[in-house]
């Protein structure tokens, strides 16, 4: 008999704090720490870059300077309404509150940080991007990973400055407080293109999976047919970006050339992955002469090299279809994530609308991430 996480905490309504006791002790593969103030980065920036941050600041590839182009449906660019710290500052900027609302509440074994702060990844001035990368990495350690060792950092880099990016990756290699490298999916060029290979090679060589957390401002329209009007379209367009990203990594032969590269798609959903694999295989059959560097069917590279996180989990019309999707992807490639403290955060108790087999649950909530990131 399968027992859902929900079933294990029937007293949640009256005693939410007790749910931790009955929980799996899961690994949360998408947690967002925020800064109280951009000045928090200053201790980790040189005088020159502190000055630059105060005067010129971040320069990304979009019309608005300080906020996303598509206003979210809640303040703070889409935060949970109950996650604003009483002492002020953005949701996710207060460690005790994050502990109370996430880490302690759910007995989270590890939380994998995905800092969406500092603007390092999409910065047009790549020297500033490199400086901010280092600063955000140091900030993760000082404000999050060291005070709460359950939190694991993600190395920030700016891929348009390959020398600095590789140096940063190598500097963090062996420091187990960092478990992966973050790259924004929307970059200037598809990530599979050869000019990015040295960076991807550095990730693989230093045993860092590459985590692609949705977002990034490439400056290109968010769809192939131009800029949509509404967040209602922009939000799903991030999923389309993930699909073209997988297509690029596979078709360019990245996995043929960097066989130990591991890629994690974060916050892009995953129900689309089987159909994309079928489509790649179907058309590769008639176009394989164009890509002779592919030695195997595209779906095989996907199956070996791609991991996905769950939030925002797709909700099939017939909930049981979720079981088929997980089976088609392979439950060993799916990892649970909450996306705390965003408005569309998934609660581990309710995210799956169907009971999962116990062995799948162990894999998805804990064991897959533990193995991929070498967490004990």
């Amino acid at each position: 008999m399968n027992v859902t996480v929900l079933d294990r905490s029937p007293d949640r309504a009256t005693q939410p704090e007790r749910s931790a006791q009955s929980h799996l002790g899961f690994i949360d593969c998408d947690v967002h720490p925020y800064v109280k103030s951009a000045e928090d980065f200053d201790p980790f920036l040189s005088q020159r870059w502190q000055e630059h941050r105060r005067t010129i600041g971040n320069r990304s590839r979009q019309g608005l300077g300080k906020m996303p182009m598509y206003p979210r449906i809640s303040p703070g660019s889409g935060m949970r309404m109950d996650s604003w710290p009483k002492a002020g500052g953005l949701p996710g900027s207060d460690l005790p509150m994050m502990q109370e609302q996430l880490l302690d509440l759910f007995d989270v074994a590890y939380g994998l940080l995905a800092p969406l702060v500092g603007g390092a990844g999409g910065e047009r001035n790549v020297d500033f991007g490199a400086a901010m990368s280092t600063a955000v990495n140091e900030w993760q350690l000082a404000h999050w990973c060291d005070p709460d060792p359950r939190l694991k950092g993600a190395v920030q880099i700016n891929i348009e400055h390959p020398e600095a990016a590789i140096a940063e990756i190598e500097k963090r290699a062996g420091d187990r407080r960092f478990v992966q490298v973050n790259i924004p999916p929307r970059g200037l060029e598809p990530l599979g293109r050869r000019r990015y290979w040295p960076i991807l090679e550095a990730c693989a060589a230093n045993d860092f999976p590459v985590s692609l957390h949705l977002g990034g401002t490439s400056g290109h329209a968010s769809t192939g047919g131009g800029w949509p009007s509404f967040y209602h379209e922009e939000h799903p367009s991030y999923v389309q970006t993930m699909q073209t990203l997988v297509t690029s990594l596979v078709c360019e032969g990245v996995f043929e050339n960097i066989p130990n590269l591991k890629v994690v798609l974060v916050e892009g959903g995953f129900a689309w992955l089987p159909a994309l694999s079928w489509r790649l295989d179907k058309h590769w059959k008639h176009l394989k002469a164009e890509v002779p560097h592919l030695k195997r069917a595209p779906s095989e590279y996907v199956r070996e090299h791609i991991w996905v996180t769950t939030q925002p989990i797709e909700e099939p019309e017939r909930p049981a279809d979720m079981a088929s999707i997980l089976e088609w992807i392979g439950p060993e490639r799916v990892m649970f994530s909450t996306d705390y403290p965003h408005w569309d955060q998934d609660d581990p108790r309710y995210a799956f609308k169907i009971p999962l087999p116990d062995d799948w649950k162990r894999m998805i909530y804990r064991d897959n991430a533990r193995a991929l990131y070498h967490l004990d």
């Binding site: 598809p190 599979g192 290109h220 047919g225 379209e233 799903p236 297509t247 129900a271 159909a275």
Partner: protein
């Protein structure tokens, strides 16, 4: 003996303009002279989204001694019409006319193509029907062209490409939908891009394989735009046919869109029903290239996930290469569904087919 597809309706075949010279008799005098002065008759204005020499765009046994595949009626008859004996086949011309920056040149060439279609194809084989090619970047001129061609009942649809300057649902484009709805013409959205933008937000990929596979994301975005902007609220009788789009990507895409709608529908208050329901009512997809899963149970699961047996329309996508021999229907398709796909669904989608 009858072919198993006898009486079916092939909703996507591609007659090819052999070269611009062939259009000259069908252009207005100004545009004829214009084309000659600029030397365009030496070019064939092939879309970069559809290089005719790419293997996927010309089945090996459908190649011609000269000219692009699909460029002669005799070949079309031998390969499809006389062999599979469809009741009707709908001609969708893929041509650079839709990509030109000049709205006037685009419209002039589109008019020429529609005239050419009527004279060189529809007049010569009664089984043929066609889509009206329109200058997609100029909604007013496109609507004019729909008005001009609509009286010819053999034109059963309006043809656009999935990716243009603006997402297809944008209000500037609505004159096209208004005219199409008025005349009972579905909007056929064919795979392809005029490449006003890179094919996706991550920029320009290296390989044609990537471009081709990523058409599915282009369609998903176009569909989201049409639904979100409220095109089907404004034009409730409008039908949209996704052509050469693939099929199996749709359920997961809609699950995501439904979830987004539940969270952020306050942004688009006119959208009062789940996107999935809107799509089931208004959107159809042609069959080829069917990006089938590897097993029959998976195929049946995907068909069930579509949640309607009325959405798929039979197509060969001639002369593009997606199947060999006569295997235009995916293996494992239940017989009653196959009948709906081949006959009933096209007749329901294209009211003009039943009328003539």
């Amino acid at each position: 003996m009858d072919h198993p597809l006898n009486g079916s309706i092939d909703c996507d075949i591609h007659p090819a303009v052999p070269n611009t010279r062939a259009l000259l008799p069908h252009l207005e005098p100004y545009w004829r002279e214009h084309v000659l002065r600029r030397g365009l008759e030496r070019e064939n204005l092939e879309l970069s989204a559809y290089p005719v020499t790419a293997p996927i765009n010309g089945r090996p046994d459908w190649q011609l001694p000269s000219g692009p595949p699909g460029s002669t009626l005799a070949a079309l008859q031998a390969h499809v019409l006389d062999r599979m004996q469809p009741r009707f086949a709908i001609c969708n011309v893929l041509h650079g006319a839709q990509a030109m920056f000049s709205e006037d040149l685009s419209a002039g060439l589109c008019r020429g193509i529609n005239n050419w279609l009527a004279a060189e194809w529809l007049d010569r084989d009664p089984r043929l029907r066609a889509s009206i090619v329109v200058p997609v970047h100029s909604a007013d001129l496109a609507a004019e062209e729909i008005e001009r061609m609509a009286p010819d009942r053999r034109f059963v649809q309006v043809l656009m490409l999935a990716m243009a300057e603006l997402p297809l649902g944008r209000r500037q484009t609505w004159p096209i939908y208004r005219a199409a709805e008025k005349h009972g013409l579905p909007i056929g959205i064919h795979a392809g891009s005029t490449f006003r933008h890179p094919p996706s937000a991550i920029g320009w990929p290296s390989y044609y394989l990537e471009d081709y596979v990523s058409q599915a994301q282009g369609f998903a975005a176009a569909l989201n735009s049409l639904v979100t902007e409220g095109v089907f609220v404004k034009f409730p009788a409008l039908k949209v046919v996704l052509i050469e789009s693939g099929v199996t990507w749709l359920p997961a895409s809609l699950w995501r869109l439904d979830k987004t709608w539940r969270g952020v529908r306050s942004e688009v208050p006119w959208l009062e029903t789940l996107p999935t329901e809107v799509v089931r009512e208004h959107v159809r997809l042609t069959l080829q290239p069917f990006d089938a899963p590897p097993t029959e149970p998976q195929l049946l699961a995907i068909l069930e996930q579509l949640g309607s047996d009325g959405m798929l329309l039979f197509s060969t996508d001639y002369p593009h290469w997606h199947f060999d021999g006569d295997d235009a229907l995916p293996a494992g398709l239940p017989a009653d569904l196959a009948r709906r796909i081949c006959i009933d669904n096209p007749l329901e989608t294209y009211p003009r087919l039943a009328q003539n």
